[in-house]
């Protein structure tokens, strides 16, 4: 019953998302497209950090891998951007596999630091390999379509996000999701009941990196200018904040967090540098008063009626 309600709710939201931009101007459409990119990033990072407990700081780097791989192939080899996005996704998956394998014996802060180092190394390479990446100037890349159309990009990003979220939803609710959570809760105990912990951890890294690469590839071809902003720690921490504020370890939390924070950012942009301060305050307040994020808040205060119905 609860599942049916959830499906109906999701369908209604999706229908709304399909119709909504038709009534909006170019600027709100742009904000929604960026929000969809962040929804993909936060949701996939949530699978890695919120479900297997591997707090990676290399997720934005994987988006950068997707964007730069596809962009460079398009610019240097004239490859079709769609093919480029696929290759970028595969390359991010490969690097995710490597990074996951490298971090296998690590947990907690050590894993975070290793992925942080990976992210920084990549950033330095991109900034300095000017001939290939155009450094901080940014790499101008072709779009996904011959003619630029905001609304088409919106639907492409929406379709991509739905695809990614559907895969994530399926993974979380399958046996794999149970194994992920078992690993996060207690690796030793998980092993003792037959969970192939090493495989589960590397798989999570590979899949989520592929998703970040995919999102990053599309995002790059939407922006038409790929800069080291994508594989930056700024973006990484934004994704982290969205996940935590939305609700880590839940399916809908990161999606809500991505839209809420990205739209909020537009409103507080007028404060210039101070908008980061507002961001920090929001994160602080949420961490103090709603440790399970916005989704946790909703679960706590939703009408008693529905909670009893679940029982």
């Amino acid at each position: 019953m609860a599942g049916k309600k959830q499906a109906l709710f999701s369908a209604a939201i999706l229908a709304g998302m399909c119709v909504l931009p038709l009534e909006l101007g170019i600027y709100p459409q742009h904000v929604l497209i960026v929000s969809l990119f962040y929804a993909m990033m936060a949701s996939s990072w949530n699978l890695l950090a919120g479900f297997t407990g591997q707090v990676s700081f290399g997720h934005a780097a994987m988006a950068g891998i997707g964007a730069y791989t596809s962009g460079i192939l398009a610019v240097k080899a004239g490859l079709n951007p769609w093919v480029g996005v696929c290759i970028g996704t595969a390359f991010a998956a490969l690097l995710g596999f490597g990074l996951g394998a490298l971090c296998l014996k690590m947990g907690g802060i050590y894993l975070s630091l290793t992925t942080l180092a990976f992210s920084q190394i990549l950033h330095i390479i991109i900034v300095n390999e000017y001939n290939v990446t155009r450094g901080t100037m940014g790499l101008q890349v072709p779009g996904l379509m011959e003619e630029y159309s905001k609304i088409s990009y919106y639907y492409i990003m929406l379709a991509a996000a739905v695809l990614i979220l559907a895969i994530l939803y399926w993974m979380i609710h399958s046996n794999l999701g149970l194994n992920f959570r078992a690993v996060q809760n207690d690796e030793v105990a998980a092993k003792s009941v037959g969970v192939k912990v090493l495989r589960v951890r590397v798989l999570a890294f590979t899949v989520t990196s592929a998703m970040a690469g995919f999102a990053g590839g599309l995002y790059g071809h939407y922006l038409l200018l790929i800069t080291p902003e994508i594989p930056s720690l700024d973006l990484q921490f934004k994704v982290l904040a969205m996940t935590v504020i939305g609700g880590m370890g839940s399916f809908f939390g990161p999606i809500i967090g991505a839209f809420a924070l990205n739209i909020l950012e537009e409103y507080i942009r007028i404060y210039g540098e101070y908008h980061v301060l507002v961001f920090g305050m929001v994160a602080l307040v949420v961490a103090r008063f709603a440790p399970n994020g916005l989704i946790g808040l909703w679960r706590k205060f939703r009408p008693m009626k529905s909670r009893e119905a679940v029982k």
């Binding site: 046996n175 149970l178 194994n179 959570r181 078992a182 996060q184 809760n185 207690d186 030793v188 105990a189 998980a190 092993k191 003792s192 009941v193 037959g194 969970v195 192939k196 912990v197 370890g249």
Partner: protein, 259 residues
């Protein structure tokens, strides 16, 4: 101690020495941590269908031996043979798949998961192909077996210590083991509860055809429960025998009580 009817209970199931087959065997199992020799040259055997107690004073190496069998630790040398296959140094998940389940001295439930999910993790790794409703019902069955039927939807971190031990037992049983290894499951129980628990483990053994290797600190509990005892002291096998033989042995008394 003398009042425990050891003979009656243990005598109820006489092991025929000729027919008994060892399900688990250790050959000269050793484990050292740096300079500390936790286990040295331990030989032991656990016959199919028996309940074998593993006892010994603190620091004797009981849990180390457990971990060496269950794959949580790699023995430094020696061999572990289970069901006629050499499993020395196998990772814990592989050991589990072969049919060895264990509980932990300090319980390790999946704290942020519900009780039913805790058990489901064990079921899906035994039967990955099973459809979800069957997985749930078989997990529910294991929960009610240990008396946690009502707690299915409760997160494991909300359970008390005894309930956590029961949950671990349900989880271990859900892996459908041939050999069940219990690490001090009776800690924190009163006398009445100990007798119930012992009867329960014996019933499990009989009904599910299990073999049980059982570490226990509560001597009064393991005496009537086990058919055979392996006594460890300072990383070595001090003696093996029936509970009656063990309590009368001078070396055992000395190991426990000192000179």
């Amino acid at each position: 101690m003398a009042k425990i009817p050891t003979d009656e209970v243990a005598g109820g199931r006489e092991i025929d020495k000729e027919e008994s087959v060892a399900l688990l065997e250790g050959h000269k199992v050793s484990k050292s941590f740096g300079g500390v020799q936790a286990l040295s040259q331990v030989d032991f055997a656990v016959e199919k269908g028996t309940i074998v107690g593993l006892i010994g004073p603190n620091g004797a190496g009981k849990t180390t031996l457990f971990n060496a069998v269950a794959g949580a630790l790699k023995p430094t040398s020696g061999r572990v043979v289970f069901d006629e296959a050499d499993i020395t140094g196998f990772p814990a998940n592989a050991v589990c798949r072969l049919g060895i389940a264990r509980t932990f001295q300090v319980t390790r439930p999946f704290a942020a998961m519900t009780c039913i999910e805790n058990v489901m993790v064990a079921v899906i790794n035994r039967h990955p192909e099973k459809p979800r409703p069957l997985i749930e019902s078989s997990a529910r069955e294991k929960l009610s077996l240990v008396g946690l039927a009502e707690m299915g939807g409760v997160e494991a971190r909300h359970l008390n210590v005894i309930q956590k031990k029961r949950l671990e037992l349900a989880r271990a049983l859900a892996t459908e083991p041939k050999l069940l290894m219990l690490d001090e499951v009776l800690g924190g129980l009163n006398t009445q509860e100990i007798y119930q628990a012992v009867a329960f483990i014996r019933r499990l053994r009989d009904e599910l055809g299990l073999t049980v290797l059982w570490i226990e600190h509560v001597m009064g509990a393991i005496m009537p429960a086990a058919e055979r005892l392996i006594v460890l002291d300072q990383g070595q096998v001090l003696m093996v025998g029936t509970p009656n033989e063990v309590v009368r042995d001078a070396r055992v008394i000395q190991a426990y009580l000192g000179e």
